[in-house]
């Protein structure tokens, strides 16, 4: 039995590839299919949501439960939370008393354990664990912006080959370094998608239609880290997708952009609200940029190392393993 820290390479050896970039492309595809959920996992998630949806309909017959976030766009890592929102006809389910009433109801029905009601936050939510599947659930109330964002991201995924693959790798990379949590200044899921979308839709070889991104995932991943780790002008540039495709905007031309204490900050215009900077919470940009630059160095050094190695030395090796540090369960 072969044991390895990089389970996605088992039975997927690409060490004989002539170009390291092609090897990396194939390894990215292998990793993405490795972390993609199985039919059983998808069913378990859908059943979990179904049970909670039924309970909500029973409790409030004018309300419905919708999913958004990574679950709704198929961009989730194994074990990630499910984000839901309750929308009602009267639009009155975001009161403190409603939050507590629903939490108690779910508890009594045996549908929720470890319940936390966070009523005072800017976005009030209930957090709990589904006792059958052990999946963590966040429920928010009466806010449609998450649903609109999910719809837009699904359109981007349709129009942008490679967006799903590179986003999942960057998500896993940031997750392994605890830089993907907005509450601690990291990059949120929507911001990550915007960075990848913008990178792909402005890449010289892609806008000129010279390459198929799916055939070039390896070099594109390295160049993603190159752009945001070394070259991007965070002090002066904002990203916007107002015209349907992403463009840069000098920060000084963004009226209503609330400058943070430091000009070294990420600014991404919310496609649904031109006054909102969706990455304003990512205050730890210094570490994020440093991590991206580190990923570029790790990946390019690995390419140089493997380029001079013999085919015998390359067998069973991983190009990506050290960068993404996947420590999930065996799948």
């Amino acid at each position: 039995l072969l044991t390895t820290d990089y389970p996605w390479i088992i039975n997927h050896d690409h060490s004989k590839q002539k170009e390291i970039a092609d090897w990396l492309t194939m390894e990215i595809r292998d990793f993405v299919s490795y972390i993609s959920p199985s039919k059983e996992e998808i069913k378990e998630r859908n059943d979990t949501i179904g049970r909670i949806r039924d309970a909500v309909n029973h409790f409030w017959n004018d309300a419905n439960l919708h999913v958004f976030g990574s679950y709704a766009t198929d961009l989730y890592l194994p074990g990630s939370d499910i984000d839901c929102v309750i929308i009602s006809e009267k639009g009155d389910k975001d009161s403190r008393s409603s939050l507590y009433a629903l939490a108690n109801f779910l508890k009594k029905r045996g549908l929720a354990t470890d319940i936390e009601v966070i009523a005072k936050a800017r976005v009030p939510i209930i957090k709990f664990i589904d006792p059958r599947s052990k999946i963590h659930i966040d429920v928010s109330f009466e806010r449609i912006n998450g649903l609109e964002a999910a719809k837009l991201i699904r359109e981007w995924l349709n129009d942008t080959p490679g967006l799903r693959e590179i986003t999942l790798i960057v998500k896993q990379f940031l997750h392994a370094r605890r830089l993907n949590n907005v509450h601690t200044g990291g990059l949120g899921g929507f911001s990550i998608i915007c960075l990848v979308f913008s990178f792909l839709q402005m890449h010289p070889r892609i806008i000129s239609n010279e390459i198929d991104p799916m055939e070039n995932l390896g070099v594109l991943l390295v160049e993603f880290f190159e752009l945001y780790g070394k070259n991007f002008g965070y002090d002066d540039i904002a990203i916007t997708t107002a015209n349907g495709y992403p463009i840069y905007l000098p920060k000084s031309d963004w009226k209503g952009l609330q400058q943070l204490r430091s000009s070294f900050s990420l600014a991404i215009q919310d496609p649904g609200d031109a006054t909102n900077n969706i990455s304003r919470g990512s205050f730890n940009l210094r570490d994020i940029k440093k991590a991206f630059a580190g990923a570029f160095d790790l990946l390019t050094n690995r390419c140089f190392e493997l380029d001079t190695a013999s085919f015998k030395e390359r067998i069973g090796k991983s190009v990506l393993g050290n960068v993404i540090k996947y420590r999930g369960k065996q799948r």
């Binding site: 970039a21 402005m202 010289p204 000129s208 239609n209 070099v219 070259n231 840069y248 000098p250």
Partner: protein, 97 residues
């Protein structure tokens, strides 16, 4: 004799004087291009390879019309860009440069 004798480094792969052959970006910056013959058979204009100027933006100053590597403004990032990046007019097919 000068103690800081200039060590001649240059790349036998791309002739750059900024790196040696074993650290040449051309080792990893390799693109698998679309098949040219299938391009020509396709009369559909959408599939033709051309450079849409309206999609070119500068990562350094944010202005439309040039790539970040070719920006005339002072560099915004403090990390140096010695060997050039993907976002350069150089990183295009000959006839599009």
């Amino acid at each position: 004799q000068c103690p800081h004798k200039w060590k001649k480094v240059y790349c036998t792969l791309c002739n750059s004087k900024r790196h040696a052959r074993d650290r040449c970006p051309n080792i990893w910056r390799v693109y698998l291009l679309r098949d040219d013959s299938s391009q020509q058979q396709d009369d559909n204009n959408e599939k033709k390879q051309k450079l849409p100027i309206e999609r070119i933006y500068c990562y350094n100053c944010g202005v439309n019309g040039h790539f970040g590597d070719d920006c005339p403004e002072r560099r915004s990032s403090r990390v140096p860009n010695e060997d050039g990046s993907a976002f350069s007019g150089e990183n295009l097919k000959e006839d599009m440069k």
